[in-house]
């Protein structure tokens, strides 16, 4: 392969920036399509209701209205979505493109107006007369799991849409025999992704070619296309999906949502382009929510704080509809919970409930709760036993020699340096000198959170865990006739800087300059079919596939060069910055050939190619990463809570992270800090609130507050990277661990501070009001850490 990595590792400012800073970026809604009609969706004002009748007459009379359709109308054009992978304990679900007779949450779809513009469409919506028969709603997941609950999906006969049980060893026996059993509870509130660019799409049907083109901000253009063709009864070759610049996604732009599918169906039905831009209220009400999970751990421990056995009980609120298999998110929490700790006897039971709320999906670090639950459990153990929390971690942590280690969840942990990141973090945060204390105005605490971040999921993981799909990724590299390099993978960027970082990877893999590499992404016709952007797979799956493909390009070019130079073998030849060189000890010597010369030969003088080499320079390569790759980190923070107001201040926040080979430190640092910020925002502020009738009380940015600059402290990031032994370039991936660590570090710091007054909190978000109550009213006191 390459003689050296010249560009990987460089903090190169991004090439994407120019268009973003000049106002020349093209997000979906910036793209003009002549003659496009605008759609708007009428949504249910009720949490749960039967649709008695819909009268669209007055809407149709409005000038500029082209059509109004209901669920019944669209059912003719679109098949239902059935989510029924063969997973034990998972009940199959099915939903039409738009509800026909019953709405299941506030914001559910009722009708779609297509008009000359959005203003007219909204006027028309007001003229639609819908008669609802309101039904009792269930907006609490625990209530939903009771036998007498209202049913969200009557076809299921229960709200328990998934129940998953896993056992390694015999945790129950350990609990029964243990000197002490310590329980801890954790409740994470419902959140939503809130990308600043809401969802939206433009669908065009070409009746002559019978071809659908969908422009949509998507993380996964090809899997999305697969969904579309299935639902619309088309073939893969009849649909193109194009994802332009994307204004943030965070997991919200993976699924094919009902609105988008309806727009496709309407474009085909009308034979005219149809576009839709979600507004913020729709986005907060009805796009996709996340994270509403409750966990209880029971740990069998000895007097030294060593965990002898552990069980996890988890309940997740999945909302009204399943866009994903209902075990998909919580299962990963169960699988990776034990992280870097050696716990042989472990089991989990997960129950997933349907409720009359917006459906949920993965949000940046969907498994985020795992770190808080594990590290919070360790802190409760330390407090109960009067031990030092760091020491309890040390006693349970796997020694480096114990790796690779088959975790009780089934995946194999390796290439992590958890002790190193933790000890570094302890030094940097001043752990030795810290004691939680109270100076009369503030309570002071310090929190630790070790994180094992599952970054990349290979096909083996999907197969093992019963989640559909593949974990591989595909790369295509074309050396163009002028010697420039065009590279592509099946991923779609939403700010990750792929165009810059992948160019660095390809430059090193081929032996050219990054400036000679163009990275094009996001179009299903020009990118190879890949699994798209999700989790932390960008670097390992995307970068890995590109690097392997680039190596093939290099080998091919060197064979061609050798032939041009009259050699039988490529020994001694190298590719540096696009030039073919003789590699010598201490330097290199020009051969006079460069990639452009070779490209000319390959395209325009094929008779000059070596025996058996075909004309052209196009390369395709797939790569299936290991079942699971891991990055690891330790987050540590010091906080103080004002007694008077309950307001939390983060005095110092640091992350020591090992995310393997870093392609571009500038970009990686941005991702790490951004992930921490999202984690802090969720831990401190964000909250999707429903009342008992299923009304959403947080449908504007005034009510669903996300962090502003004043809410985010300075974030120190210290690299302790070691490469992966199993991936190209030693890449591991990152960008989600920050969320995981932030929740655990801050929650643990808060409970450290509250321990001074004998209080604890187990519910997020950690609002001033909640912390104030914990300090003054003793709420949460003794709720944590019951000894059994």
């Amino acid at each position: 392969m390459s003689e050296r990595e010249a560009y990987v590792g460089q903090p190169r400012p991004r090439r994407e920036d120019h268009r973003l800073l000049a106002g020349l970026a093209r997000y979906v809604d910036d793209i003009k399509v002549a003659g496009a009609l605008h759609a708007a969706f009428l949504r249910s004002p009720h949490g749960h209701a039967r649709i008695v009748s819909i009268d669209v007459t007055a809407a149709l009379e409005l000038l500029g209205v082209v059509t109004v359709v209901t669920g019944e109308d669209l059912a003719e054009d679109v098949t239902d979505l059935t989510v029924a992978p063969p997973i034990e304990g998972l009940r199959p679900t099915s939903m039409p493109v738009m509800p026909v007779d019953r709405v299941r949450f506030q914001g559910d779809l009722v009708a779609c107006v297509v008009a000359a513009d959005r203003y007219v469409a909204e006027e028309a919506m007001e003229r639609i007369v819908v008669e609802y028969a309101e039904l009792p709603a269930v907006s609490d997941m625990f209530a939903a799991l009771r036998d007498d609950s209202v049913l969200v999906d009557e076809a299921l006969g229960t709200n328990l849409v998934a129940r998953r049980v896993h056992r390694a060893g015999d945790p129950e026996a350990r609990l029964a025999a243990a000197p002490r059993v310590i329980e801890a509870e954790f409740h994470q509130q419902r959140q939503t992704h809130a990308p600043i660019e809401t969802r939206g799409c433009i669908a065009q049907w070409d009746p002559g070619r019978e071809h659908l083109t969908l422009v949509i901000g998507s993380q996964v253009p090809h899997p999305l296309r697969t969904q579309i063709v299935r639902r619309l009864g088309l073939r893969d070759s009849q649909v193109s999906v194009s994802s332009p610049d994307v204004g943030g996604s965070f997991g919200q732009k993976i699924a094919l949502y009902r609105e988008e599918l309806a727009i496709c169906a309407l474009a085909r039905r009308l034979g005219r382009p149809v576009r839709w831009k979600e507004d913020r209220m729709e986005n907060l009400l009805a796009a996709c929510h996340a994270r509403e999970q409750w966990c209880r751990t029971r740990a069998a421990v000895d007097d030294t704080g060593r965990i002898l056995g552990l069980t996890l009980e988890m309940v997740e609120d999945f909302g009204a509809y399943c866009f994903y298999p209902a075990n998909y998110i919580s299962e990963v929490v169960g699988i990776i919970l034990t992280g870097q700790y050696g716990i042989a006897d472990y089991g989990y039971e997960i129950r997933v409930a349907l409720t009359n709320k917006c459906g949920v999906g993965p949000m940046r670090a969907p498994m985020a709760m795992a770190s808080w639950v594990m590290e919070g459990t360790l802190d409760v153990i330390a407090r109960r036993l009067g031990l030092d929390p760091a020491e309890v971690r040390r006693r349970n942590m796997l020694a480096d020699q114990a790796l690779p280690y088959v975790m009780p969840g089934g995946e194999t942990l390796l290439d992590v340096n958890c002790a190193e990141t933790m000890e570094t973090a302890l030094d940097e945060i001043g752990y030795a000198a810290h004691r939680p204390h109270d100076d009369g105005r503030y309570l002071y605490g310090l929190g630790l959170c070790n994180v094992v971040e599952s970054t990349t999921y290979g096909s083996r993981f999907y197969k093992n865990s019963g989640i559909g799909g593949s974990g591989h990724e595909a790369a295509r590299i074309i050396v163009e006739p002028d010697g420039t390099v065009s590279a592509s993978v099946g991923m779609a960027a939403a700010g990750q800087g792929y165009e810059t970082t992948f160019a660095q990877v390809v430059a090193d893999g081929v032996g050219v300059r990054p400036d000679d590499v163009a990275v094009t992404l996001g179009h299903s016709d020009t990118s190879p079919y890949g699994m798209g952007s999700r989790g932390g797979r960008g670097a390992t799956a995307g970068g890995g596939a590109l690097y392997l493909c680039a190596a093939e390009v290099r080998a091919h070019l060197l064979r061609l060069a050798a032939h041009r130079l009259g050699l039988n073998a490529t020994d001694g030849l190298g590719l540096r910055d696009g030039r073919i060189v003789w590699v010598r000890a201490g330097g290199s010597e020009e051969t006079g050939l460069d990639v452009a010369d070779l490209a000319r030969t390959a395209y325009f003088d094929p008779l000059a190619l070596p025996e058996g080499m075909r004309p052209g320079l196009e390369f395709y390569r797939t790569y299936d990463p290991p079942p699971m790759t891991f990055s690891n980190s330790t987050h540590a923070c010091r906080v103080r809570i004002a007694r008077e107001t309950g307001r939390l201040e983060i005095l110092d926040y640091l992350v020591v992270e090992n995310c393997g080979t870093v392609i571009n430190p500038l970009v990686v640092h941005g991702q790490q800090a951004g992930a921490v910020a999202m984690g802090l925002s969720g831990t401190l502020l964000e909250n999707v609130v429903y009342d008992q009738a299923g009304r959403n009380l947080s449908a504007t940015f005034a009510d669903y507050t996300i962090a502003t600059v004043a809410d985010i402290p300075a974030i120190r990031i210290i690299a302790r990277a070691t490469p992966s032994s199993r991936t190209p370039l030693g890449l591991k991936g990152m960008a989600e661990g920050g969320v995981m660590g932030a929740i655990g570090a801050v929650a643990n710091a808060v409970n450290d501070a509250l321990s001074v007054v004998g209080a604890q909190v187990t519910c997020l978000p950690l609002t001033p009001m909640r912390l104030h109550a914990a300090i003054h009213d003793g709420i949460g006191r003794a709720a944590q850490g019951q000894e059994g």
Binding site: G646, D711, M769, H772
Partner: protein, 293 residues
């Protein structure tokens, strides 16, 4: 979401405004800065037939020191108040409160008249107008009158102008030399509206005793009460820590009766207790207590 259609009128003079408002009545809303009105129109919480744009009426865009106080035109932007040397001289607290409205971009557009008419219970300018007993100059086809804002501001989002009336300017009465005013704002999160604003106006007599005390508190979704008469018995007393403690007790008790004692109410009252003490210490010139005057 998009606003519903309306007819648009853009006027140049107060006389035109008064005439048109008389003709259109409640079918028309007045668009000044629009920072609160436009979201309400966009969310279709309000659907007026007519929108009257007053942004060109320059005669309402002035800050004038007058014999008996400070006159601020209804169209004066918050940022203008916040940067005004005249306001800084006459009413430093008003300047500071204007500088805390919304954010930089919002302050460039939002107007004092619009804010007072909207009467949002969590807003800064209405609170300042209540504290200083500002009077609004109102014009209608029937003529001009002035009215105390305290009388007009009946309940949240209800500034009770008479039919056809428009706010032309607001007059903040000249304050005695021995007046000190202090306000404290408490935001639950940095980006949210203030959950609590408390403001104190304290006038001392020649001996340093209390000659007048006005306290206004915005908390919960109630019209911020003006607390004044309830301190009459304290006149002449020096505002030392003991007296301030008594005032805090009265204020907290009064607010408790208004905003209720549920969890959120209890929390606000608890925070109010601390903030009120800070405010009072600042107004009494006792900087040891660390008031944010």
């Amino acid at each position: 979401m998009k606003p519903a259609p309306f007819s648009y009128h853009r006027l140049q003079t107060v006389a035109e405004l008064v005439g048109l408002k008389a003709r259109l009545g409640d079918a028309a809303v007045i668009l000044a800065g629009g920072q609160s009105l436009v979201p309400m129109l966009t969310l279709r919480l309000s659907r007026p037939e007519h929108v009257i744009d007053v942004n060109d009426i320059v005669e309402m865009d002035h800050i004038l020191p007058e014999q008996d106080g400070l006159r601020i035109g209804a169209l004066v932007r918050h940022q203008h108040v916040a940067e005004s040397a005249v306001v800084a001289t006459h009413l430093p607290l008003l300047r500071r409160m204007a500088g805390g409205v919304g954010n930089y971009a919002v302050r460039q557009r939002g107007t004092i008249g619009g804010s007072l008419v909207l009467a949002d219970p969590a807003a800064h300018m209405p609170l300042a107008a209540l504290l200083f007993d500002a009077r609004l100059v109102l014009r209608s086809a029937r003529g001009v009158r002035t009215a105390a804002y305290r009388d007009l501001y009946r309940s949240p989002l209800n500034c009770a102008l008479d039919a056809g009336e428009v706010v032309v300017s607001v007059c903040f009465p000249r304050q005695p030399e021995a007046m000190r005013a202090v306000a404290e704002m408490f935001h639950v999160t940095a980006g949210s509206f203030p959950a609590l604003i408390c403001a104190v106006r304290l006038v001392a007599d020649a001996q340093g005793g209390l000659a007048g005390l006005t306290i206004v508190v915005a908390a919960g979704a109630v019209r911020p009460p003006v607390m004044e008469g309830m301190f009459d018995d304290l006149r002449g007393v020096r505002p030392d820590a003991a007296l301030r403690g008594e005032v805090v007790r009265r204020v907290v008790a009064h607010m408790g009766g208004l905003i209720g004692q549920d969890a959120a109410g209890r929390y606000l009252l608890s925070v109010l207790e601390g903030r009120m003490a800070m405010c009072l210490a600042g107004a009494a010139g006792d900087t040891k207590e660390g008031a944010g005057a």
